[in-house]
Symmetry: C2
Subunit: 335 residues, 2 copies
């Protein structure tokens, strides 16, 4: 049986380009006792994996990816053959597998099962019902403390996390404002995701753009990006504002040191609060959170935006699109 | 009647020096209907007032101080003559008055009364029972969430706020570590204030010094200074750490923009929390807080450290001592 894999052809310098990746055909390895063979149905593209494409970038999460070997990522997969006592043919998994059609594995730590009452749209488990959607949910639910009519600002507002955060804030009664790049994506934030207003982060005068979009100031800032944007936002927060710093295992290694906001003292004068959170720590609450999110989806309160490409040949491009901002919503490839 | 005043002789360039101030003798003005005459018993020295000594530094808190006129500050004062219906001779006040022996005033906004059951040590109302002590109390009580045995780190640990914060954290069950400048003040932190350990911020390797003093990491950081020290501390925080950014009306204008911490993302990976707070907003809780603080003082759990100088001639020097770090505890001058 043939296995098409996307291997790391060369290490990206700065932003990844499609030439960094190459599809290779390899035989599917034998399934030894204690192993399972999975067919990968969807590949999730997450910018954070860029980190481990650098030489010597290995850490306690992943080793540096070797040149010429399949690129590591996140997949939604189905067991097609099991020689492992805990898995049966047909089991559905979320896994840290490579960008390939088939994976043979010992079934170690980086696999979790889909819930028994699985949602019919399997790809949702890589997005709205996966770590990205749950990040939006737990951040706003645990630390947002949104009162009706408050202004919630979301950065990377069209991304996998942001597109959900903006909608959940709306469900919680907020006026929502999204930040993204360029007038076209700003228009889509409002028209497709339902934000009340948008801020173009490429605007000449970003302070003026924030003021125009948030005439009553900012009560909650759901921050997916950090960096210089936070310094701008801090100038516009209201008293007792909440700033949510979103992180997930999939992405946190991507964050390079960058100058911090010089106006952090705004937190004091506005007696405001900043909360860091890590979604995977809420694992025991995943089922309940997914039930709530699924209910909102079925009621039409929460729309799912996928930037979905088809086939193994599209994986490299889909990954590069993340860095070009070509995506809108959660980026996945259906194999 | 003669009134000795400390006037602004010249504007400080950088750190204030004693030549910036000059004592002048002036007559006490007449007390007109609607006014009160106060004798100033103590002058509180607060670094924040440095801000309004600059040309054009006026803001919504205070105008820029005029050259040749008495320097503005905080005092503890007694009414000696009243032509105002709300005040009687003998009333004790905390006030934003000038550095002078006597003040005649219309008794406007910047005056508050001492409580009826006044503590016998009147100067405490400028320190442990005033805004500085209450800042330590409300910060730790409202946002510290200290569990027994946790490590609480305090910056400017020998200062008016820090010296109280370190002791309250101890009362709440913490192991306490103070940051100050120089080995001598470090020794005094432990010997006189009761910190369990001290960090010398002038150490060659500050990270190593923090690690040595906080072998179990940092659970709470009570930050009185901000700036580069925060970046160092963020590298040593534990999961779910609380960082308290202390502010008060008296001091916040002193904070100049400075580069923020480049590692703010530590808040995310450690799922930690940062709380800004402003003490004067807790005014309705002052009486209860003061009762608690007074009880701790009477029980011997809370020791009061005053850096006390005598007489109007000492006021300029006491102010300059704040910037030289010569003070230990709350800096006041008894007139």
């Amino acid at each position: 049986m043939e296995n098409q894999c996307v291997v790391l052809a060369s290490r990206p310098e700065g932003m990844p380009v499609e030439d960094n990746f190459r599809v290779e055909r390899r035989p599917v390895p034998d399934v030894n006792p204690g192993q399972i063979l999975c067919r990968n149905l969807f590949i999730s593209l997450d910018a954070g994996f860029r980190n481990w494409m650098d030489e010597g970038s290995g850490d306690n999460v992943l080793p540096a990816m070797p040149l010429g070997e399949p690129v590591m990522g996140l997949t939604l997969s189905r067991v097609v053959e099991s020689k492992h006592p805990d898995y049966a043919e047909g089991d559905l998994l979320m896994a840290r597998f490579a960008w390939e059609q088939y994976t043979v594995t010992d079934a170690g730590d980086f696999i979790s099962r889909l819930p028994a009452d699985v949602h019919e749209s399997l790809s949702y488990y890589l997005g709205v019902l996966g770590d990205t959607g749950l990040s939006a949910y737990f951040g706003l639910t645990d630390f947002g403390d949104i009162k009706t009519g408050e202004t919630v600002l979301v950065s990377a507002a069209a991304g996998a996390v942001g597109s959900i955060a903006g909608q959940i804030a709306k469900i919680y009664g907020a006026r929502t404002v999204g930040i993204t790049s360029g007038p076209q994506k700003c228009a889509r934030l409002i028209g497709e995701i339902g934000y009340d207003a948008a801020v173009d982060r490429t605007a000449d005068d970003l302070h003026q753009a924030v003021t125009a979009a948030c005439p009553n100031g900012i009560d909650v800032y759901f921050d997916n990006v950090g960096g210089p944007l936070l310094e701008v936002v801090l100038e516009h927060i209201n008293e007792e504002a909440r700033i949510l710093l979103c992180g997930s295992v999939a992405t946190y290694n991507n964050i390079e040191p960058q100058p911090g906001p010089s106006n952090l003292f705004q937190l004091t004068t506005k007696h405001a609060h900043m909360h860091g959170f890590m979604t995977h720590l809420q694992l025991p609450r995943y089922d309940d959170a997914r039930a709530t999110l699924a209910k909102w989806i079925s009621q039409g309160d929460l729309r799912v935006h996928e930037y979905r490409l088809q086939g193994i040949d599209s994986v490299g491009r889909a990954f590069c699109d993340l860095f070009r901002g070509a995506n809108f919503g959660k980026t996945i490839v259906e194999l």
